[in-house]
């Protein structure tokens, strides 16, 4: 029982190799939320134990059900929170996925990040935790910032960027 577990732990701790410990997909990215209330240190501490992922580059038409189906492949989902346009209150292309267990979120980072949902390559990143208000886009027009200034036409994200549309 316990002796065995301790023995196995000792074997693993005493001898592993850094090349085998590499887990780059599950590491923190460079991104830090500028609106986070607290120090950088606080934020990183929360990111390292978080079970919540930010998911970006979704189509505006991607549903909670689709997200649940895809992200459910790495473990049981506690909650999906759809990102909304602050003005229109409609989906604006991002969401949060919270798992019960961090290990399941790590597997999502390893195997779902960078694959397709609704034909789009989606991107996941660690999130410090959902707080009321964070479900809204931070762009001036109400959607995400990236949709304010982009120049390309993206049918799944409202067409042209907002500044282009206003020209």
């Amino acid at each position: 029982g316990k002796a065995l577990r301790d023995g196995r732990a000792a074997m693993s701790a005493g001898g592993t190799l850094s090349i085998l410990r590499s887990d780059s997909y599950a590491d923190l990215s460079q991104y830090r939320d500028q609106h986070f209330r607290g120090t950088r240190y606080d934020q990183e501490r929360l990111l390292r134990k978080s079970c919540t992922l930010y998911v970006g580059n979704l189509s505006f038409y991607t549903t909670e059900e689709q997200i649940h189906e895809l992200f459910g492949k790495s473990g049981d989902i506690k909650k999906v929170i759809m990102g909304l346009d602050k003005v229109k209150k409609t989906a604006c292309g991002f969401c949060f996925v919270e798992y019960y267990a961090r290990g399941d979120a790590e597997n999502a980072m390893r195997y779902i990040n960078g694959t397709r949902l609704d034909d789009r390559i989606i991107r996941t990143d660690w999130d410090a935790g959902f707080k009321e208000g964070r479900q809204y886009g931070r762009g001036r027009s109400g959607g995400q910032v990236r949709d304010e200034y982009r120049q390309d036409y993206d049918a799944g994200r409202g067409g042209y960027g907002k500044t282009v549309q206003c020209q």
């Binding site: 023995g7 592993t16 190799l17 085998l20 590499s22």
Partner: protein, 795 residues
């Protein structure tokens, strides 16, 4: 900054030369990096890299011997795919420093013993193989290796030990022979012949009841699903017939033969296999998965035959690469594709076969299923001109053989294929599969297509699926996932409860509270009894129907809406579903409302278990109820059941962990008190301190026992219902004179197997109860066979 002296390494009396630029830990990292990276792509040849590294390490031995020993032992254990690179390195070091060679061998034996003691059998095999290849590098004397193998094989003579124990020692011996068979046979042919004949007689007499449970296909054509030891034995026999000539393994030590044969060899100390204990857990037996042979790539290099030792070595190495790099999908794909021998073997076919072997492995894949999907996508990205075609060929072959594929493996095939397609715009030549349209919908092929399309829909949306398949496939297309509200239409106004439903709708839209809902529901008559309790809420199916139908209909918009509804009216749910019948009826109504949307049913059931509106046993009973008989073979039902069992298991583990943690806290508290000074006063106050913790422990102990009992009950309910269902079918077939093996029967019996396999660790605890209560001798032999196969797995 600490500047630790390496007193264990440095010679006594020598002044310690401080390196001014690097810290000791940096040097260790550098050493580890140098050692790990040798053998990777490089501008210089492998031989010159090995020679260079041997020189560096030899120079570092005075100061870093124990670190180097540790690193080398670790790569031996954890990088088996580079076995011969590292044995060569050790050979070179031994040639330069005989003592180091001896110490390394000793360290390896210590590590081997440790691994066996803590049940790390897979890693132990790598160590044994490493030791055996050291014979080829003149580090270990062949006779002493043979002696070790003699001790291994003699384990098969032990009495009253599990077969899986003997199996492991046999496997460790046989699986080393591709590397060292030639050398051992040349030096000790009589002993080797004796060992091989002992092997043959062990393999003949060992039981193989477990094999059918682990096979991916029930048919032997085109490739038999061989038990792993049988396959390996055939391979070794063929190797012997070929006079131990083996040409696939890269052997860098051959280039250093002149240096190495000058080295002095060490004798392995006599190795006694550690005895079997109660805590010993040996690896489960396996079945070798094969889907390709030399006919499948007629234009490319020839695929080594199923009984060739090359096939064994390639498969072992590819599995090891996945094991090393499963977390890093790009690295994993790159390492797989750079496996040496690319132009001599059809590497893409081997890779695809090995990946599917893991994906379809029973009881479970070595890694999480979604990893394999993403790994295959990475491989397609790296080899866009060749790998997708092999994958398409593989998919076609798997489809052709669906009739005999194990149901659990079909599940995984469905999940993989639908997820894969969603990454490639669902492009597939569906017309190629039109043959399934003429078959009975319950047959494996049309069933597979239906389930795939349903999963594809979950990852996209209904109209997309209608668009991607030919019109002829509409019979297999999933239903539009809309909710069915029985009180929706005016034409339904004659239904009992219709007016209450209307009332409820208005109330809920006006943000009614739980109490208001209760009072509205009070007016609902109970069809079950003549007089209702005035205050009590005894089981009233109509109340449940009206409330649940209405609420779910109002909250139908999304998962979040439904979850909010469950949360807001939790009190009403709990009250209505208080009794077992109430729980069952809630589940029935959920199904009636959402039968077009299995995904919604699954998430609602999950939520209701987590918020304790229903319990796991209720879900199990519901799944086996007659109302669900029509959907019994559908994939989503089993996803729900297994998810339910997993939640139960996690719950037990969680409380158990809490209990252990609280016990640990109490122990720490005692320790703190004992180490502090002993005042008489403290004795009394310490009892008071203990009090709340001890109470907590008692309460948690009760919680654990009750959870474990609930868990056991869940499994017993499931097994009981399976037995009832299967017995019914068997009796009906017998009396009617029809064949037992209908598609339904195959599915059902394999679902029973799946319960055993997927939760085998927990179920092992119940063996006595199962044997005495449920799986008794009176049971039909078809059903009993499943239980016996399961028992044979760890026997």
């Amino acid at each position: 900054m600490s500047r630790r002296r390496h007193s264990d390494d440095s010679d006594a009396g020598q002044p310690h030369k401080r390196r001014r630029t690097s810290e000791p830990s940096e040097i260790e990292e550098r050493l580890e990096s140098l050692i790990c990276r040798v053998g990777e792509k490089s501008n210089s040849s492998l031989e010159s890299n090995l020679e260079g590294l041997a020189g560096v390490l030899e120079a570092d031995l005075p100061n870093y011997k124990s670190k180097i020993l540790r690193i080398l032992c670790t790569v031996a254990r954890l990088l088996p795919e580079k076995l011969t690179v590292y044995t060569t390195l050790v050979g070179l070091l031994n040639a330069r420093n005989y003592n180091f060679g001896g110490e390394f061998v000793e360290a390896m034996i210590r590590q081997l013993k440790e691994c066996l003691k803590v049940n790390m059998y897979n890693e132990a095999v790598h160590l044994v193989r490493f030791l055996s290849d050291l014979v080829n590098c003149h580090v270990i004397a062949a006779p002493s290796m043979v002696a070790m193998f003699e001790n291994f094989v003699s384990v098969t003579q032990e009495e009253d030990v599990p077969q899986v124990r003997c199996d492991w020692y046999m496997f460790a011996f046989l699986s080393s022979l591709p590397w060292v068979g030639k050398e051992l046979y040349e030096k000790k042919d009589a002993e080797m012949d004796r060992l091989l004949s002992q092997t043959e007689s062990y393999l003949k007499r060992r039981q193989k009841i477990h094999v059918p449970m682990l096979q991916v296909w029930t048919a032997d054509k085109p490739h038999p699903q061989e038990e792993y030891l049988d396959c390996l034995w055939s391979q070794i026999q063929k190797l012997k017939k070929d006079r131990w000539q083996e040409r696939h393994i890269l052997r860098p030590y051959l280039a250093f033969d002149s240096i190495l044969c000058e080295a002095l060899q060490h004798n392995l100390p006599p190795f006694t296999p550690p005895p079997h204990t109660e805590d010993s857990v040996y690896p489960m037996p396996r079945v070798i998965f094969r889907m390709f042979d030399y006919t499948d790539d007629p234009e490319g290099p020839v695929m080594p035959g199923s009984h060739s030792v090359e096939r064994f070595v390639i498969e072992e190495n590819l599995h090891c690469i996945i094991k090393s790099h499963w977390k890093e999908r790009k690295t994993c794909a790159a390492q797989l594709l750079s496996y040496p021998g690319n132009n001599k073997i059809p590497l893409n076919y081997h890779i695809v076969e090995v990946i599917f072997a893991e994906l379809f492995q029973l009881p479970s894949p070595p890694h999480i299923e979604v990893m394999y999907t993403t790994l295959l996508i990475e491989l397609c990205k790296l080899q866009p001109g060749s790998l997708p075609q092999v994958l398409a060929q593989a998919t076609e072959m798997l489809y052709m053989r669906l009739d005999t594929m194990n149901t659990t493996c079909v599940d995984r095939f469905i999940n993989w294929f639908s997820h894969h397609l969603s990454n490639f715009q669902f492009r597939w030549s569906w017309e190629d599969w039109s043959d399934c349209l003429t078959q009975d919908l319950e047959k494996p092929k049309p069933k597979f297509v239906r389930e795939v399309l349903e999963k594809c829909m979950r990852l996209s949306y209904h109209q997309r699926i209608i668009d991607i398949v030919p019109a002829s496939f509409s019979v297999l297309s999933p239903a539009n996932p809309v909710c069915i509200y029985k009180y929706g239409d005016e034409s339904n106004r004659s239904l009992p409860g219709y007016t209450v439903a209307l009332c409820l709708t208005i109330a809920i839209k006006n943000k009614a509270s739980n109490d208001e809902i209760f009072s509205i529901l009070k007016d609902v008559p109970n069809p079950n009894q003549d007089d209702d309790d005035d205050e009590g809420f005894t089981f009233n199916p109509l109340k449940i129907e009206v409330f649940v139908q209405t609420l779910l209909h109002l909250a139908a918009k999304s998962f979040s809406h439904s979850f909010s509804a469950l949360a807001k009216f939790h009190e009403v749910f709990k009250t209505l579903a208080e009794s077992d019948e109430g729980k069952l009826h809630v589940l029935r109504v959920v199904y009636e409302v959402w039968k077009n949307h299995p995904q919604m049913i699954a998430v609602l059931v999950d939520k209701m278990i987590r918020t304790q509106i229903v319990d796991c046993a209720a879900v199990a009973n519901w799944i086996f109820s007659s109302e669900l008989a029509h959907d019994f073979t559908r994939f989503y039902i089993w996803e729900i059941l297994h998810s339910t069992i997993r939640k139960m298991n996690k719950h037990v583990l969680k409380i158990h962990k809490e209990l252990e943690e609280t016990k640990a806290r109490l122990a720490r508290q005692h320790k703190r008190r004992d180490s502090d000074d002993d005042d008489d006063d403290d004795d009394r106050s310490s009892d008071r301190e203990d009090g709340p913790l001890e109470e907590q422990i008692e309460r948690l102990q009760e919680k654990v026992e009750s959870a474990q009992s609930e868990q056991k009950n869940l499994f017993l309910v499931i097994f009981q219902r399976f037995i009832m269902l299967l017995t019914e079918h068997l009796v009906r077939c017998e009396t009617g004179g029809i064949d037992v093996f209908t598609p339904w029967y195959k599915s059902c019996i394999e679902r029973l197997q799946q319960i055993f396999l997927q939760h085998h660790q927990i179920i092992q605890q119940y063996m006595v109860t199962l044997e005495n209560l449920l799986f008794t001798a009176e049971l039909d032999h078809h059903i009993l066979a499943v239980f016996q196969q399961f028992c044979a797995l760890q026997a």
